[in-house]
């Protein structure tokens, strides 16, 4: 019964001992042991950078450059963190980044759900052509937009404002596409029934479609919040006032100023990473299942 679970496990080669419950059990142990060993080694490689970041961030300057490397600091200190808050204006960076990410994500998801619904559930002339024209912008690299959008931003007087960070990214193609896919799982009868009961179109969208799209919605909210939080190039180009920096740009600038104070830099990196990581671990079940759910298929 468990045989099919061993796909791609090189250690499970002997098919002779297929019969017998005890050999079955041994095969299971041996097969999965190999898997766990390899995945465990890989997992260590994945987390070492994070562990080393946290470890360094609690070390006084002299200890960061001592040999041999130590996982646990001899005299742990939080002075690096205090330094970051004092000198990098961390509170401000957190507030700016949160504010912009929340607003952008709300716009991204709302507009995408609306368009996904319209392109997925309505029949009107020109629907497909409009959809594919919008979708085609997906392939255009952001570098193509960088210069013209910057000049346009300066032209309308939005340089160095949050407006410039938010407005050009209100609509987004990826989430729209995902919502349109998701609409095929919602029965059209439901919408028709609501119409017959006299529900208005906006009421149907807000009270039926959005609640029914919860699964796709949560995943896309999480991903867009992460992407918006981690956005770098556009804020780097558009914002020059330090008080309006977002966290990525703030960290990059900070690293440039304190390039040889490794403890302080790692404290800064920790502070940039930890909020988003904590948020994600809290909702991770949704996300990992949601990638599958929203239909990422070749």
């Amino acid at each position: 019964m468990a045989n099919q679970d061993f796909v791609g496990v090189p250690s499970q080669i002997d098919t002779q001992s297929l019969s017998g419950a005890s050999s079955e059990f041994q095969r299971l142990r041996r097969g999965l042991l190999f898997n766990y060993l390899v995945l465990g080694a890989g997992a260590i490689l994945m987390v070492v950078p994070f562990i080393w970041m946290i470890s360094t961030s609690f070390k006084p300057q002299a200890e960061t450059v001592s040999f041999p490397p130590r996982l646990f600091p001899i005299s742990p200190t939080i002075s690096n963190y205090i330094d970051v808050f004092d000198r990098a204006n961390m509170g401000r960076l957190y507030w700016n980044t949160t504010f912009i990410s929340v607003i952008k994500t709300v716009f991204n998801i709302y507009t995408s759900a609306l368009l996904g619904y319209i392109f997925g559930k309505f029949v009107f002339r020109g629907r497909d052509i409009i959809f594919y024209i919008l979708l085609s912008t997906w392939i255009i690299p952001f570098e193509v937009y960088l210069i013209p959008l910057y000049l346009m931003t300066v032209q309308v007087g939005w340089a160095d404002t949050f407006t410039a960070l938010i407005v050009p990214e209100i609509f987004t193609v990826y989430a729209m596409f995902m919502f349109r896919q998701f609409m095929y799982t919602i029965p059209t009868e439901l919408i028709d029934a609501a119409r017959i009961d006299g529900a208005g179109e906006w009421y149907i969208f807000h009270r039926i479609i959005i609640p029914l799209s919860r699964a796709a919605l949560f995943t896309l909210v999480a991903f867009y919040f992460m992407w918006n939080w981690n956005d770098f190039l556009w804020p780097l180009v558009v914002i020059s006032d330090h008080d309006k920096y977002v966290i990525t740009v703030g960290l990059a600038t900070f690293v440039g100023e304190f390039w040889n104070q490794y403890g302080v830099i790692m404290a800064g990196a920790s502070l940039a990473i930890i909020p988003i990581l904590a948020l994600f671990i809290a909702v991770q079940r949704f996300i990992i299942e949601g990638v599958v759910l929203t239909g990422l298929k070749g």
């Binding site: 987390v47 960290l251 070749g298």
Partner: protein, 305 residues
């Protein structure tokens, strides 16, 4: 279902049409305006800029026709940048796809702890590249970095990872694989879920070994997913790499990690050659467009799923 079908063909819904129509129009007008202004106009504007000697300062931007493109064709630095971009793109994509495939294949049969393992592999995906590049730069530091300190234990002399023209690009590629593996693994796992179990059961009854199962069933059936990962990886790779390289090497040493995205940014916003930078962004656009068309040809993407 039958009811909807009948309604659709008898025009029973015509009384509702006006409200629906208004709904669609109200939603689509701002959308189309947005896309026209923010997504389509800038492309033409960018092309217009690439036809000029455009500088942010100074009010004169003389028209130069295709001179910017001609300059690129003669610029040895640009060829170097293109080579670096392709090196990073192809090495990163293929190695990354391979590592993720191995992880996905051995992660797939696991039940206990699989969520924790997926989460661990996914951690770098959630981390901003700016932050991870900061950590990696510190770990790869020549004298005090963790990697060289560990290597010295086994007697290997310190390697100046990010200051060496040989090692800087591989270092950035490895960091990129570390950063992206979790996402690709999840795509593969979704693909593996789609393979019917009966195939394996039938093959096992015929006495197939697990290696045979992997080579004869899993890989062929996973081929569309693998090629999806490779093609999107290559397309994304041409315009990618900016954040990691900006933070770790700034394009150096001796331009050995200068990739297209960084080069465009550098020309446009550091050296203020916006016309020249726009012409480069159009070369990038052309490459991505061609690759996408090739993808459509090779692999009829099933948009409807």
């Amino acid at each position: 279902m039958i009811q909807t079908f009948v309604q659709r063909f008898t025009g029973n819904r015509s009384t509702l049409r006006a409200a629906e129509h208004r709904f669609i129009v109200i939603a689509l007008i701002p959308t189309i305006l947005f896309y026209a202004i923010v997504k389509f106009y800038p492309i033409f504007f960018s092309f217009f800029i690439s036809m000029h000697e455009w500088s942010l300062f100074g009010n004169v931007s003389p028209f130069v026709g295709f001179d910017n493109y001609a300059l690129l064709a003669k610029d040895s630095l640009f060829y170097k940048v293109m080579w670096n971009t392709m090196y990073r793109t192809f090495a990163g994509t293929f190695l990354g796809a391979f590592c993720s495939l191995i992880v996905a294949l051995i992660l797939n049969p696991i039940k206990r702890g699989s969520i924790l393992l997926r989460l661990i592999y996914f951690l770098p995906v959630m981390t901003s590249v700016i932050a991870s590049a900061t950590i990696w730069k510190w770990m790869l530091q020549t004298r005090f970095g963790l990697l060289n300190q560990l290597l010295s234990v086994v007697g290997i002399q310190p390697v100046p990872w990010l200051q060496s023209t040989t090692w800087a690009m591989p270092s950035i590629i490895v960091m990129g694989i570390w950063g992206g593996i979790g996402f690709t693994v999840i795509i593969y796992l979704a693909g593996l879920k789609g393979i019917p179990r009966d195939y394996y059961e039938a093959a096992e009854i015929d006495g197939a070994s697990s290696i045979q199962l992997a080579l004869k069933i899993t890989l062929p059936l996973l081929k569309p997913v693998v090629s999806f990962v490779l093609i999107t990886g290559v397309i994304g790779g041409f315009s990618g790499g900016f954040q990691a390289i900006y933070m770790m090497t700034g394009g150096g040493p001796l331009d050995s990690t200068r990739v297209l995205a960084l080069h465009i940014y550098d020309y446009a916003f550091q050296r203020m050659f916006m016309g020249q930078a726009s012409s480069m962004s159009f070369v990038l656009f052309a490459i991505v467009l061609i690759l996408t068309l090739v993808q459509f040809k090779l692999q009829r993407v099933d948009w409807e799923l």
